[in-house]
């Protein structure tokens, strides 16, 4: 029982980081979804050439949606956004703003590298003068995600090792308590597998129960956190955005716990020694 609880607490710590990671990753995903790429066109591009560029972009499987903004629309938008500065453009006599396409990419092309590659490629298309997206922002986001990933992996590895050690010690105690029985079993012709299987199963059950309990604890903490957010009224709306693990991940975590349990008992059995008879 103590072993299950300690394993549960250890795995719950891993779970907290995993949950944090999953949610931050999701948040990063939404932010990345919002990234629009501006494809500016040459100043004096004929309308059939514009149509060619559009066709080119539409045929691109990376492109999810496309919106054409003509020079006039760009000017209109500028004036609407910066009414006090509109006289600056009036003074120029002609509209200096280029026509452009606002492009949203398909989810599988939204990674930093994919966006970079895509922008490079589109820059080569005749009639395109410039491809613009907020590179600094995307790079910063990628760095944050990578850092969280590294921390999550590091903590996961350390705490998983702790879980293996806890289970290994529990199994070692059981093995020690049953050393006479094991010696007798060996003497009467039990195979190594016959002797090992019950202890491996015990490790698997300990690991599975520990990880299930850790998920229950996490879910409880998660609900408490959401409740807290709702009642305090801070971060309004954010409580609906944070999510718990989907069932498939929960099952995978129980399986991981089971695996750690089996690993723990395997370590103990190996240390306990092969032939005690």
């Amino acid at each position: 029982m103590v072993a299950i609880l300690t394993t549960a607490f250890t795995l719950a710590c891993v779970g907290v980081f995993l949950l944090l990671y999953v949610n931050l990753r999701a948040a990063a995903g939404w932010l990345q979804d919002d990234i629009k790429i501006m494809v500016y066109l040459d100043e004096r591009l004929a309308s059939d050439s514009v149509a060619e560029v559009e066709q080119h972009l539409r045929a691109d499987r990376a492109v999810a949606s496309l919106l054409f903004i003509s020079k006039e629309q760009a000017l209109g938008e500028f004036k609407a956004q910066f009414p006090s500065e509109s006289h600056l453009l009036d003074g120029l006599g002609q509209n200096p703003l280029p026509a452009s396409f606002v492009v949203a990419l398909n989810p599988s092309f939204r990674s930093v590298d994919a966006i970079k590659r895509w922008a490079e490629r589109v820059r080569q298309i005749a009639g395109v003068s410039k491809v613009d997206y907020n590179q600094d922002w995307i790079d910063a986001l990628a760095t944050v995600i990578r850092s969280i990933e590294l921390v999550a992996i590091g903590i996961g590895v350390i705490l998983s090792a702790a879980a293996v050690t806890i289970i290994a010690n529990t199994i070692r105690l059981t093995l020690f308590a049953r050393r006479d029985e094991i010696a007798i079993l060996r003497l009467i012709g039990a195979t190594t597998i016959f002797i090992r299987v019950p202890y491996l199963m015990e490790g698997a059950v300990l690991g599975a129960l520990g990880s299930t309990l850790s998920l229950v604890m996490l879910k409880f903490m998660y609900e408490l956190f959401r409740q807290q957010m709702r009642t305090t009224g801070r971060f309004a709306g954010l409580d609906n955005l944070i999510a718990f693990f989907p069932p498939s991940v929960c099952l995978a975590l129980v399986a991981v716990g089971m695996g750690l349990g089996v690993a723990g008992s395997f370590v103990s059995i190996r240390r306990f020694g092969e032939a005690k008879a």
Binding site: D180, E181, A183, I184, L185, R186, L187, I188, G189, A190, T191, T192, F194, E274, A275, A277
Partner: protein, 231 residues
Amino acid sequence: MALLEQAPKMIQLIHVSKQYDQRLALSDVTFEIGKGEFVLLMGPSGAGKSTLLRMLIGAERPDEGQIFVHQKNVTALKSSDVPYLRRKVGTVFQDFRLLPKKSVFDNVALPLLVQGISPADIRRKVTEALRAVGVEHKRDQLPAALSTGEQQRVCIARAIVNGPVVLLADEPTGNLDPALTSEIIELFKLINARGTTVVVATHDPLVMAQVNRRVLTLSQGRLLPEQRVLG
């Protein structure tokens, strides 16, 4: 020796030696035991009897020499094959080595259980073994509720429940009084009469007098010239 040469060999030791640190446990021991023989392995404590019995079930390996049991070269046996040798060799211990939390029935059933024998066959064979040693009526009791003589009988039942080709007993009467010793020796004779080769290691002269068969004597790890008492 004529009888020995006729019988197929069940146990064969060829120049077997074993040393623990600086102490010589066995030195150049060579002998053969034929199928169906009843042999006493005599010698004082520390003479190497237990080491020799442990070697016969692959629990120890000699430093030199070879050991054959039931035509299997035990010295060359892979550790994964050792359990299968032990299923053919029943072992009886001085301290019985019964599992205290299991009933008499469950203790005797253990060698069958590890082989994956069906529950019906286990019931039948355990009942037969318990009947053969005369403790069938104690089948549901825990070992602690039995007398020492009964515990040794249960240990013997566990050793024979598999129908082994060889029965090894290490000081089986060490904890028993003379009357119980006689009973246990009679039981071994009965098992031997059914065709099982029996090797009993003992330092008890009373056992030698009662068994009255071939005697191998070890002294400080060496085998002394053989005495044969024909009953």
